[in-house]
Symmetry: C2
Subunit: 355 residues, 2 copies
């Protein structure tokens, strides 16, 4: 590091989140950041084109009313139950500020989305880290009963495993603070806790357009909760950035969520590919967790994951490896198109036969 003379104590002390590689080399098969392999709805493209006009000189709607109304309609809730932000990462960060306190630790699993501990560090909050079960499933009892709130992903990342709504309800209803359920991957096979909102007044469901709507490039995420919980998020957001969603993103996300039919077909295609390639990876000697997400979490019986990742990269296939306790022998492989997955399998056959 260089000169830190004018840095805050905070800036000196934090370890930032490291996102998956966004390579600038063309023709790589990108199975490392859980992007959707299919393009967004054609209506999204039209909406972006339609937003390309002189109105870009004007501030966007700070309350994103049209988008929030469309999200509310899609999920059968009221617009005042919807909060939108610059990707679910921003929504999650603001939710930490809105619901968790510095002097009361919140609970989270030890293996989960690695941005949660980064937010906690940024905001000076303490986490009670609860280990996943031996089979990597979420420890429902140990996540329950906290006094400072709880956050978990369902399906969990990077394990791909989901819990049922009874378990989500058990955790939320036994927690004294807010219960944040990160549903970034829910549409690929898990059940949404939105159905529990009337039972659980402390529940906050966080969603994203990045995966299911193929809009990672547009940065739109949202939260659904009671109007009172959403009001806390609005207060924090309006103390940070009044206009986090630009005009184009608002228009495009609105068009996307209104094109439910297109989105459902894309989801079905990805789930079909996942189910057909999971046994093929097993036939190559991998153990795959039963995924409910748009990625597979796979460990090879005899080959180390870090080496496999490196070899795959040399074959032009990017997958993600986490150098972390308990999961350092797993690869997280995004479900791509059938063609991309064929090339993954072909590369693995090559690597494993040479090794």
């Amino acid at each position: 590091m260089g000169d830190m003379r004018y840095w805050s104590a905070l800036a000196k002390g934090i370890s930032p989140y490291v996102p998956g590689e966004q390579p600038r080399i063309p023709h790589l098969i990108k199975l490392n950041t859980n992007e959707n392999p299919y393009p967004p709805s054609p209506k999204v493209i039209l909406a972006v084109q339609g937003a390309a006009d002189a109105s870009l000189r004007l501030y966007p709607d700070p309350e994103s009313q049209a988008l929030r109304a469309a999200i509310a309609k899609r999920h059968g809730v009221k617009p005042e139950q919807v909060f939108v932000g610059n990707g679910s990462d921003e929504v999650l960060a603001l939710a930490f500020l809105a619901y968790f306190d510095r002097d009361e630790p919140f609970r989270m699993p030890d293996i989960t989305y690695s941005f949660y501990p980064v937010y906690a560090q940024l905001f000076g909050m303490a986490a009670e880290t609860v280990p996943l079960e031996d089979d990597f499933s979420l420890p429902v009892e140990k996540l329950s009963g906290g006094t400072g709130g709880v956050i978990f992903a369902n399906p969990n990342a990077p394990t791909s495993l989901a819990i049922g709504l009874d378990d989500v309800r058990a955790i939320a209803s036994s927690t004294e603070g807010a219960a944040i359920v990160d549903e970034a991957y829910v549409e690929f096979g898990a059940q949404s806790a939105i159905a529990l909102l009337s039972d659980c007044p402390n529940l906050v469901v966080v969603r994203t357009f990045s995966k299911s709507h193929a809009l990672a490039g547009l940065r739109v995420g949202y939260a659904i909760a009671s109007p009172d919980l959403i009001e806390a998020l609005n207060r924090v957001k309006n103390s940070f950035n009044s206009y986090p969603l630009d005009r184009v993103a608002q228009a495009a996300a609105t068009a996307s969520i209104e094109d439910e039919h297109y989105c459902q077909n894309v989801l079905l295609a990805i789930v079909k590919t996942r189910e057909s390639f999971l046994p093929r990876l097993e036939a190559l000697g991998f153990t795959c967790l039963p995924s409910k997400a748009n990625f597979l979490f796979a460990a090879h019986k005899t080959h180390a994951a870090a080496r496999l990742q490196k070899s795959l990269r040399e074959h032009g296939v990017l997958v993600r490896h986490f150098n972390a306790p308990r999961i350092d022998n797993f690869l997280r492989i995004t479900v791509g198109t059938d063609d991309e997955m064929e090339r993954l399998v072909f590369s693995l056959q090559d690597i494993l036969s040479l090794a």
Copy 2:
């Protein structure tokens, strides 16, 4: 308020920033939020259209390399001296976290951009508030000499007054912490502190595309500082949101900053309108501060500002009024097109003759 049971102590305690009204009524003359009255460059429109493709499924470049290179080239600095964010509001918020500490108050003027005290409250920081001089100019000596950093806008908002580079240097070089200069309006008539970067290692210059580039709807701001200071901003940003700028905004802002010629013509037109309408407001009985921004700060000799704002609204003309000590008899009037300013003058003539 409703039920705050699951709110953090922070959420319960904060008073959010209140942005200017974004009305949904058509045909209003909008002179209340300092938007640019002219459309963005035609090259921006083409860039937005060009970004409307299947690549929206992929995450944007988290480092915004093309945009940062274009900004660096425009200002004659290195790309590692440039940080970009979701509007200058996000850049400013992250700069507070990167450079200011909770236990060491920073300095700022009492009358300035009203988001600064909101950030301070959100992050639990204390400010040493320094009163503007009686003529509303920035109190250069009183802003100097602090140990916890300093932030001010040049030109200042909502006063429209600028200080020269010698004064900026005096403040920055006498301050122990970072010196953040918010140059949201600098291109309308003030000198940029970017010229001081080699003299002042603690200087951070914050800019926006919202005003001078007519891109308020796209949410792009940036900071220019030494590579070491920029690294602190990157750390904080990567602990909050890895991808704050979507693909469309990156492409459009790059096209805009590359079209310097268009931008300069727009700036000249706005300055020309400002200079021709300032005496016409004075002829109507207003005192106008000598503006270096794209707005006028004007008090009427006999008519109360709050009443005038209300009457103008009834005439379909929106201007901003701040119900705050010392400035509650001023109107902040954005410089629009000549036609819009004619309608403002016509409406004021009507209101003042009836009153």
